[in-house]
């Protein structure tokens, strides 16, 4: 079966778990036969968007570039996964409007106090100390999506739970096929077989 491309766009505060989830979803989709590319915000800023800063204008340019590449990939039947803070709603909605392939927004929610506590990259500490300026959630705004296709919460869910939730939503949206093995349990399978046998279909 040919697989269709789409853009899966993770948005959320720094450290919320966008990259972790992008990689988990990538792995699962590859196992189901999809071609997948992840555009990670941190990595993109070292090449595609090298030299851009964190002003609103630069942030918007960064997101437009990621959105552009995602759409190029998606319309060639690749699943393009973007993992970037993308704090401004307007620009995310612009990407949604102009992309030609389906655009799925996944909001990775996590309360700021949990993130400060977690502070995996040590950035919140520095931002709160004033060493980093324009840090989203500290002295730069974050505009949460109004109605994302899928909402996960990394303070209450395990990464595996969240990834599972995202995959299920993609199945619901008919962008991804249900796992063949997991669709019915073995017991159910044998009942189905018996019923079909009784009518001569197996």
């Amino acid at each position: 079966m040919s697989q269709k491309g789409f853009t899966l766009w993770f948005t959320g505060l720094s450290g919320a778990g966008k990259t972790t989830l992008a990689r988990l979803v990538e792995k699962e989709l590859k196992q189901r036969g999809h071609k997948v590319e992840v555009l990670d915000g941190d990595i993109v800023r070292t090449n595609l968007s090298k030299g851009l800063g964190f002003s609103k204008e630069d942030r918007d340019t960064n997101i437009r570039r990621i959105g552009f590449v995602c759409d190029l990939l998606a319309r060639n039947d690749v699943v393009a996964i973007a993992a970037a803070i993308s704090p401004y709603r307007e620009i995310r909605d612009e990407i949604r409007r102009i992309t030609t392939a389906p655009f799925i927004e996944a909001y990775v929610e996590c309360p700021l106090d949990v993130l400060v506590e977690r502070d995996v990259k040590g950035l919140y500490k520095r931002a709160l100390a004033g060493e980093i300026k324009n840090f989203t959630g500290v002295d730069d705004p974050y505009e949460a999506p109004g109605s994302p296709e899928v909402l996960v919460n990394s303070s209450t869910e395990t990464p595996e739970d969240s990834a599972g939730k995202i995959i299920n939503r993609l199945v619901e949206l008919r962008l991804v096929q249900a796992a063949l093995e997991a669709a019915l349990s073995e017991d159910e399978d044998s009942v189905v077989r018996a019923r079909l046998e009784a009518l001569g279909y197996v």
């Binding site: 249900a178 019915l184 189905v192």
Partner: protein
């Protein structure tokens, strides 16, 4: 009421679909004429009763999926009750999660309208919708068959049965008939209860017992001396009373009564894999039970009912046929199978190559060839047979060109051309004033509709 309001109310009507699984158009005509189905006769007098084509293959999983999506299997991806996993001979049973097209009730739900969908085959496990759904064949667990879950206790209290247990035929035909009648009674009670108690804009209720009756008792209705002749007619009288119950509830809804395929008597079951073995196309391991036991060196194999697959290198793990040779093998099989005869006549009505039947994103999992037999010769995919033809416990087989389609609209409102099962969804959307979404292959039966 002004002209505009009249138009508006007409264009945005509610709709009712009653499905009678496997009920042939010709049988309905006969029962209307001989007085077995007086209520349906009365209803038919107020609308158009038509003969309809269904999908190829003409089995319920494919046909009902084509009904609910308005699409061909090349789009929706369901080609049979069983299929093979990608790049494998391993069998799996497709379910609702494998359907790759949106459904009629998805389109209705998008406009904020509610659907009640009861006992449509191939909807298991139940998927969320704006409304209520109880999955039909092959649903296993009532909890997974029902959306929303809150309905389950009441269904249990009412002893709702998802399906006839056809294995009761091993006990006796009397036991099976009793099973069919009991299940029908409970089905009808539940169908009417939900019709009356739920809020809906689109109601779909399917009776499956018609199909089960006909699989095991089809010979009875062609023989007045048959032990079950009157039981068969009594069964359809019950169905007629149910149709009457629905008809009496109609206000200004558009009503469609339809079947997913027809039925006829079986003369012989024909085992296509046996033919492929005998003619050197297929090699099986010893004591093979299913196509999973295919042996090395095979050129082609069959899956139920008449699906033929060329064992190509690019598609199957032990494939031996080069892509370039595929059409040659296909041609040999077409010629050879056309020459399968019984009583001096070919049992094959038509052979369709893949692209004659299917188009869409799921084309890669389509069979390479679909064979349609003449009435009486039921094509099967069994691999454990030692002769080409035989009789089994079944006395009825499906037909592709004799489905039932009644719509409560006069002949001059209906367009030319024989209806196809994929036309039902666009017709219902047109009646409800909803635009037909892209991805539906059928077209509305109404002469004047956008769809």
């Amino acid at each position: 009421m002004g002209l505009f309001d009249r138009f508006k109310s007409k264009a945005a009507k509610r709709a009712v679909i009653i499905g009678l699984d496997g009920t042939p158009y010709t049988l309905v005509r006969r029962f209307i004429e001989d007085g077995t189905m007086p209520r349906l006769a009365e209803l038919a007098g107020r609308g158009s009763l038509l003969q309809m084509d269904t999908s190829v293959p003409d089995i319920s999983s494919v046909a009902w999926t084509s009904f609910m999506t308005g699409a061909n299997p090349g789009r929706h991806g369901i080609y049979g009750f069983l299929d093979l996993q990608p790049n494998s001979y391993k069998i799996f049973f497709p379910n609702s999660k494998h359907i790759r097209s949106a459904t009629l009730w998805d389109a209705v739900g998008k406009t904020g309208k509610r659907s009640v969908v009861i006992n449509v085959p191939s909807t298991y496990p139940a998927q969320p919708l704006n409304g209520t759904l109880i999955a039909g064949f092959v649903a296993v667990d009532i909890n997974k068959a029902t959306y929303p879950q809150e309905l389950v206790p009441e269904l249990k209290r009412r002893d709702y049965r998802i399906d006839v247990d056809a294995r009761r035929v091993q006990e006796s035909h009397d036991a099976l008939m009793d099973e069919i009648l009991t299940t029908l009674d409970r089905r009808i009670k539940t169908l009417l209860w939900l019709y009356d108690s739920q809020q809906w804009d689109l109601y779909i209720g399917v009776v499956t017992e018609t199909d089960r009756l006909q699989h095991f008792f089809m010979d009875a209705i062609f023989d007045e001396q048959h032990k079950y002749y009157s039981a068969f007619k009594d069964f359809y009288s019950k169905v007629d009373r149910f149709v009457g119950e629905i008809a009496s509830r109609l206000r200004d809804e558009t009503m469609i009564l339809m079947s997913d395929h027809g039925f006829t008597k079986i003369e012989q079951q024909v085992y296509l894999n046996r033919w492929l073995v005998e003619h050197g196309f297929l090699k099986l391991k010893e004591n093979a039970r299913s196509i999973e036991d295919i042996a090395a060196g095979s050129l082609a194999f069959a899956l139920d009912p008449g699906r033929i697959y060329i064992n190509t290198k690019e598609r199957f793990p032990d494939g031996i046929v080069d892509k370039a040779d595929s059409s040659k093998i296909l041609a040999e099989i077409k010629v050879g199978m056309s020459e399968i005869t019984a009583g001096g006549a070919s049992i094959v009505k038509r052979l369709y190559e893949r692209d004659e039947l299917f188009a869409g994103d799921c084309i890669d999992s389509a069979p390479d060839l679909c064979i349609q037999s003449v009435y009486g010769y039921d094509l099967k995919g069994a691999v454990n047979k030692t002769q080409l033809m035989d009789r089994e416990v079944f006395t009825g087989m499906h037909t592709q060109d004799d489905s039932t389609c009644f719509i409560n609209a006069s002949a001059d409102e209906i367009r030319e051309g024989k209806p196809h099962i994929t036309d039902i969804a666009p017709t219902v959307l047109a009646a409800m004033g909803i635009e037909q979404p892209p991805g539906m292959d059928g077209r509305s039966l109404f002469r004047n509709s956008g769809n």
